[in-house]
Symmetry: C2
Subunit: 308 residues, 2 copies
């Protein structure tokens, strides 16, 4: 089944305790589609870039089977740019610079032949832009997933809640779940957020794994303890891309399959953390991925006999 | 197999966002033995209390099959007292008062018929006192487990390292693992700590679960997201008690059985968080425990087919 994604295709400049980069390619849409491309050969992206963006990178995405026809290229304009510095714990970071550029007036246009989307992944963007993408689809996808962040809770909460009400699966981190719900207990936060509309909620906790909730069930996905988190930029997007690429490929939106998707997304995200930017997620082999998934299986497996 | 424990039997006074207590019974040794008693009917404790300690509580421990003969009762002296206040996140707390009292000059005496200990759990105490208990055992137990905290890393690091070198299993939290090893990455921290002597390291992460390491393997145990963490005091000790009670009862120190022990310890610890002090861990039924363990099984279970 095909997967439609909307998300930024951008430049990042990153400083970590391990080094710093010049402008490299990043962006939610980039990580999502690269990750999804390992499971799905029918991945379409809607985004916007300036004419400063390297055509070679688009060609690389095409080689991975990603259809980039929905990426608008604005002549004479510049690509979205974000620059940040991570602290030693690699969980907290400072934004050093944000230049919206082409994202400032992004008017997403879904190409005609993308419109029969089976699955839709709304990457972190202005909620109004996320809504515009849903609006353009004549038939509701089988599953709409959405990522967002605290920034939109601060400045566009009402718009955000309207989009949340229209999606099936929301991914946010633990602090954002607490902010959005006003509840400290993640169990209570999840209940409150599920009442806003989504059928599934995934709370991402970085090195502490992720939690999946539906109205009745909870799943706790582990994170692989890494030797070194080199650069976590894009890990959340890679997670979402791996998850949705897998869900679309298997065409199964059951709780059990979302669990599998989370493990696969977590495995891919662990690769993204190993190098700067998209370097690692752009170069994986099938064997790399299978070996990493097996590590997750070993990591979480236990057996106890309990009387039923 | 029998389990010998050394640990404080004490009074706590606790303030949380949900309420506050007067002096109630707490202490590492109390939580450890109560938890262990659900799996093992041969639990012996070495500790010290003042004559202000309620005899009724000792009787309650005896009813649960805990042998309290090794608890010295000091006439005219007062029981160890700790008072603390938890913040909203229930992870950070301030110590309001610490009165060492009988613990100030605690000289642990292992009764003769405790000395053939099959398993030994060293609760969090002065490292020198932990060492004195090992010294009194004529034969090495099959597994010696030890809990400690950052306080001893700050003021008695050399003594602490000497005890760590003598144990098989160490339990500490993530910040303590980082402090003890000087490594931020928990994977590197674990390698460094395992080189200090223990065969197993358990890194406790509270609401984020726990990690088990040996030289070659990692296991990530989930924590059950609770509606409300009412009072986490004693959760780490309950975890250790459930773990070691189970290991001693099953007489199996393999990695796979330690994993089971961690799930059981985590299940029991989740009960401790539900009420103040020992109230919940003192009143469990077999059915309560089995149902909670099943929740953990459901929480962590997933299946993915990956080519081997």
């Amino acid at each position: 089944m095909n997967l439609l994604t909307v998300g930024s295709v951008a430049f990042d400049a990153i400083e970590t305790p391990f080094g710093k980069t010049d402008k490299i390619v990043g962006g939610a849409g980039t990580f999502i589609t690269l990750a999804a491309s390992y499971f799905n050969d029918d991945v379409n992206i809607v985004s916007v870039i300036g004419d400063d963006f390297p055509a070679g990178f688009l060609a690389k995405m095409n080689e991975r089977g990603i259809n980039t026809e929905g990426i608008q290229i604005r002549k004479g304009e510049k690509t979205f740019f974000w620059s940040g510095r991570y602290y030693n714990d690699m969980n907290s970071r400072d934004t050093l610079d944000t230049q919206l550029n082409v994202l400032e007036n992004f008017d997403p246009v879904v190409p005609e032949h993308y419109k029969n989307a089976d699955y839709l992944m709304l990457g972190n963007l202005t909620p109004a832009v996320q809504a515009q993408v849903i609006d353009q689809l004549p038939n509701r996808p089988k599953l709409i997933a959405m990522d967002t962040m605290n920034f939109w809770m601060d400045i566009a909460l009402e718009d955000l809640k309207k989009v949340i009400a229209r999606v099936d699966l929301l991914t946010i981190n633990d602090e954002e779940a607490r902010q959005l719900s006003g509840e400290y207990s993640l169990r209570k936060a999840a209940r409150s957020i599920l009442e806003m509309g989504p059928r599934y909620l995934i709370i991402k906790k970085g090195e502490h794994g992720a939690l999946l909730f539906d109205k009745d069930r909870i799943f706790f996905a582990p994170a692989l303890p890494l030797e070194e988190v080199f650069d976590p930029t894009g890990a959340g997007d890679t997670f979402a891309g791996g998850l949705m690429g897998y869900i679309a490929a298997t065409d199964d939106t059951s709780f059990d399959n979302i669990k599998r998707g989370i493990i696969i997304g977590s495995a891919l995200a662990s690769f993204t953390c190993e190098k700067f930017g998209t370097e690692r997620i752009g170069e994986l082999s099938r064997e790399d991925i299978d070996a990493r998934i097996r590590e997750f299986i070993d990591l979480a497996a236990f057996n106890i006999l309990v009387p039923q």
